[in-house]
């Protein structure tokens, strides 16, 4: 499986994500500068965390309108796995590839901490290796991660199994229905605020994040 990790100017978790894919999981992964991302032969794509284009205008919105995102859209339509982590989640939302909006945290502050999560749906490309309702620990680190949608839309997301992960206990950002990760209808596109690449080494605090990437492999096999 060939995985593209897309680098926008201001991405800062790109190398961390590549390290886990390549050196921990042994995948064929490459860093691709956004302007050079023209190749649709990749089997999966990851939009890493950071501050693409300095979060100017609004987090994720400039990257969402870049030519690289057109390729991402094509991959999503073809059913290939696409994961947006943190700022990548913000890009996917701004690109309309997953529903909802991400608002500023209710505390009005950046928050960085390890947090307990619960897996709500195992029928997505980045959660199919988990057991439903299992609890995980991963770090979050963001300023605009408060998922928002109106009640009707939220009911529909829950009913259609598009809520992938929720915060298990504390809700650190005031996000609707404790939502931490969400997918598109087909389950091949997932956006998540927690950082799985930061939860991939015991000495750094845990390895629950590895299964997010392993799910991508399992999804491709099915």
């Amino acid at each position: 499986m060939k995985v593209a990790v897309i680098q926008f100017p201001g991405s800062n978790c790109d190398r961390d994500t590549l390290h886990v894919l390549r050196n921990v999981l042994g995948l064929d992964a490459n860093l691709i500068w956004h302007n050079d991302f023209k190749d649709t032969s990749y089997d999966a794509a990851i939009l890493p965390g950071g501050f693409s284009f300095g979060d100017h205008l609004r987090a994720g919105i400039i990257a969402a309108h870049s030519p690289a995102t057109d390729i991402i859209r094509k991959m999503a339509e073809d059913g290939k796995p696409v994961l947006g982590i943190c700022n990548g989640f913000q890009i996917l939302i701004e690109a309309g590839l997953i529903p909802g909006a991400l608002l500023r945290n209710s505390t009005l502050k950046f928050v960085c901490k390890w947090i307990d999560l619960r897996v709500e749906s195992c029928s997505t490309a980045f959660s199919c290796s988990f057991e439903r309702n299992s609890q995980l620990r991963m770090p979050i680190a963001h300023n605009e991660g408060r998922f928002f949608a109106d009640d009707e839309a939220l009911d529909r997301l829950v009913a259609e199994g598009m809520v992938v992960m929720t915060y298990a206990h504390e809700n650190p950002t005031g996000t609707s229905r404790r939502i931490a990760a969400i997918s598109n209808k087909d389950g091949n596109v997932v956006g998540m605020m927690p950082h799985p690449e930061r939860a991939s080494d015991h000495i750094l605090g845990g390895t629950n994040g590895l299964k997010v990437f392993e799910s991508m492999l399992e999804w491709a096999r099915c």
Binding site: P9, G10, N12, C13, D16, H19, V20, W33, N35, G49, G50, F51, F53, G54, D55, H56, T107, K109, F110, V111, C112, K113, P139, A141, N143, H195, E197, R198, S200, D201, I203, L204, G205
Partner: protein, 732 residues
């Protein structure tokens, strides 16, 4: 622009010296360049000969003081670079922009060595936030400035310290240290050594922000200083992130001869320093400098301290490669000069020379030998009344902002990016980071203004000793340090005396260790003309340690029930400068004594216990004494303990002295093998005792006349909620 309009900080003697050396009257632009470069901030003219006492060599030292960063050899062809900067004056008038641009500056210092920045630490000192709304405002905005900038550029902020004292009400201190890693063969120095090499300006445009920043930092703050916001630069972390990528890629491509950060003194300082280090001259083409505003004059262009700019000295013939790199990242660049063998800095404006100064003259300000006078002995304070109850004093200490959990601060910092951070903020005495060669770096920043105010020599040596203890407590061997001296106006003879004594104290302890100093910074004039109050002497140090084995990495929380508690060192009645006295509104007479030899021997032996795998958790005893150290271990591990504190006293003493004395050379360890720990310690005659066990969910402390019992939940609530409750009482 004339000299008078610039508000020069040059003295009559310095101006005469410049005229004599040059053999003529410098013109306005030349005066401005000399003024910027000879400012205290850039030239260290008052401090250089005092700092010469610090030991700077060691087996691992590759680059010592005098360059943008110090560099340590960590083996396997890898290096660690580190540097510390402060942005005190800017943060006092614009806390958000001042703090943010402080990070920008120190990150550039790491970049210009060809190393990748991997961690930031900050030491912050504010007025009493319990009383002052102004200090609350300063603190909130300084922290937000650090967070917005550091998070965006993708460098984790991993550790720090925050101290609160009235003396910082008008003069907050904002110190930022940065750590970088790189390959030994890719190491760069900030120097121009080859004629014909191009000098490039990379990154942001030059604007009117930060004009006279160094001069502004080289005098005391005035009532109208908040009108001087134009001396504060404007932060742009997004551009900085791209400058980081460009610098690293250019360094790896091997096209750079040298690289220099543009900070204090702007182009005037940057150009003269790289030329002087290489013994060369530079012709500057002023019209090529990209400016933000079209009508900027030559003086403004040469001394502007606009952020996010780097100077690259590009090897002749490699210009095309540079073009490719900057185009990829969309970073502005301009060839603004060329290196030559003349040993002169010549500024040309459309080929017309408008300044022409010998490089050595510009780069080397004449030394000022200032007078030092020991202050009169202060009136002795009597000991306070013996408190009837020790329960509330301990809880008050845990809530005291200097001691209380800094969670409100570090939650706002991304401390995980880079996936290197093993010891997270609040978990241990120092941060521990993974290094690319399979080893681990431990790093901590420490200060103690109250000790240094009572006795600058003892205080400053204790600050360095405490920082080393913190490094040892996480299982590392200290290998190098940075000093950062922050004082009031050096024209005041008593302040200059305190500065000299503080440096002597650090130097003597460093020699006893021995621990090389690989860089530092001096910040004078931390006082304002309204209150006429200088800050307390505030040297801050950063110590770097190395750990070979992952099992040696220690945290401070109690880990397993049933483990024994060992207290290393003896407790003496030493409350001078303590946090306990501070909560009672007192200072005391003298800080705790420091036996250099015992301190170093204790560090070495505790480190040996950790290396032998005998220790499960460790914590040094410092601010707040034994009471606070034990409470912090209980809070971090969410477990209780029963401890007989009386065993550790040298002679029987009052219970408040036993619990809160800040006697040096002490650690608390937990272990499964108490007798083996005691055996290792006794081999080097380090006093130690088994004093209790990790058990239950309350901390029970046995004292001479009473016993105390606190539930860990109570301790935790007081400790964790204090600063949050002061700054944002409306947030849960």
């Amino acid at each position: 622009m004339l000299v008078g309009e610039l508000g020069t900080t040059l003295t009559r003697e310095e101006m005469d010296y410049a005229r004599r050396q040059l053999g003529r009257e410098p013109n306005g632009l030349e005066w401005a360049m000399i003024d910027a470069q000879w400012s205290e901030h850039c030239s260290y003219k008052s401090s250089r000969h005092i700092l010469a006492q610090l030991p700077t060599s060691g087996r691992r030292v590759l680059v010592g003081p005098g360059y943008d960063s110090g560099v340590i050899d960590i083996g396997d062809d890898y290096v660690v670079a580190m540097h510390i900067e402060s942005h005190n004056h800017p943060s006092a008038v614009d806390p958000y922009g001042g703090a943010a641009t402080g990070i920008g500056g120190v990150v550039r210092d790491i970049l210009c060595m060809g190393t990748t920045p991997i961690a930031l630490l900050d030491a912050l000192k504010f007025g009493e936030i319990t009383k002052s709304d102004h200090s609350k405002w300063i603190m909130k905005n300084v922290v937000r400035g650090i967070a917005d900038y550091g998070n965006c550029i993708g460098v984790p902020t991993v550790a720090g310290e925050v101290e609160f004292d009235d003396c910082f009400e008008r003069n907050c201190l904002v110190d930022v240290a940065c750590l970088g890693v790189g390959r030994k063969e890719e190491l760069l120095l900030a120097q121009a050594t080859h004629a014909g090499d191009g000098v490039y300006l990379i990154g942001g445009s030059t604007g009117r922000d930060g004009i006279h920043g160094s001069t502004f930092a080289s005098r005391t703050l005035r009532a109208d200083s908040d009108q001087e916001r134009s001396a504060v630069q404007i932060p742009d972390p997004f551009t900085k992130k791209l400058v980081i990528e460009t610098s690293l890629e250019a360094g790896r491509a091997g096209i750079l001869r040298g690289c220099k950060d543009l900070g204090g003194g702007g182009l005037a300082t940057g150009l003269s320093e790289i030329a002087d280090k290489g013994g060369m001259g530079i012709d500057v083409y002023l019209e090529e400098v990209p400016v933000r505003e079209g009508d900027m004059g030559p003086v403004e262009v040469m001394i502007s301290e606009s952020q996010e700019r780097m100077l690259f000295v590009v090897k002749k013939g490699s210009e095309g490669f540079l073009d490719d790199i900057v185009r990829r990242y969309g970073v502005q660049h301009a060839r603004i000069g060329e290196v030559n063998a003349t040993n002169r800095i010549r500024v040309l404006h459309f080929r017309e020379p408008i300044a022409n100064l010998p490089t050595p003259l510009l780069a080397n300000a004449p030394i000022i030998h200032r007078k030092a006078q020991m202050p009169a002995v202060r009136k002795l304070e009597h000991s306070p009344e013996r408190p009837s109850d020790l329960r509330s004093p301990l809880l008050d200490l845990l809530a005291s902002p200097t001691i209380a959990s800094k969670e409100w601060v570090f939650r706002q910092y991304d401390h995980e990016v880079g996936i290197r951070t093993i010891n997270k903020p609040g978990e241990a005495d120092a941060s521990v980071l993974k290094l690319p060669n399979g080893k681990y770096a431990a790093v901590k920043v420490d200060g103690n203004a109250r000790f240094c105010d009572l006795d600058p020599y003892l205080g400053a040596s204790s600050v360095l000793a405490e920082c080393c203890r913190n490094i040892v407590a996480v299982g590392a061997e200290p290998v190098a340090f940075l000093d950062h001296c922050q004082f009031g106006d050096p024209n005041d003879e008593e302040i200059f005396w305190a500065f000299s004594k503080a440096v002597e104290g650090m130097a003597d302890f460093a020699k006893a260790f021995p621990l090389p100093c690989i860089g530092g910074k001096v910040s004078f004039y931390n006082q304002d003309e309204e209150s006429h109050k200088a800050i307390k002497s505030s040297p801050v140090v950063t110590v770097l340690g190395l750990i070979e084995e992952p099992d040696d990495v220690m945290k401070m929380g109690f880990r397993d029930y049933g483990q024994a508690l060992v207290i290393v060192g003896r407790t003496r009645p030493e409350l001078g400068g303590s946090e306990y006295y501070h909560t009672l509104g007192r200072n005391g007479n003298a800080p705790p004594a420091l036996d250099f030899e015992l301190e170093v021997r204790t560090d070495r032996t505790v480190h040996e216990c950790i290396r032998q795998g005998l220790v499960s958790a460790s914590h040094d005893v410092s601010k707040g004494g034994l009471g606070v150290a034990l409470a912090e271990m209980a809070i971090a591990g969410l477990k209780g303990a029963s401890v007989d504190c009386t065993i550790t006293q040298e002679d029987k003493m009052r219970d408040d002295e036993l619990l809160f004395s800040e006697t040096n050379s002490r650690f608390v360890l937990t272990t499964n093998k108490p007798s083996e720990v005691l055996e290792v310690l006794s081999k080097t005659n380090v006093p130690a005792d088994v004093v209790g066990t990790v058990e239950g969910n309350s901390l029970r402390l046995g004292l001479n006349t009473t016993n105390l019992d606190f539930s860990v939940d109570t301790l935790r609530a007081v400790y964790v909620n204090s600063i949050q409750g002061i700054l944002e009482p409306w947030q849960k």
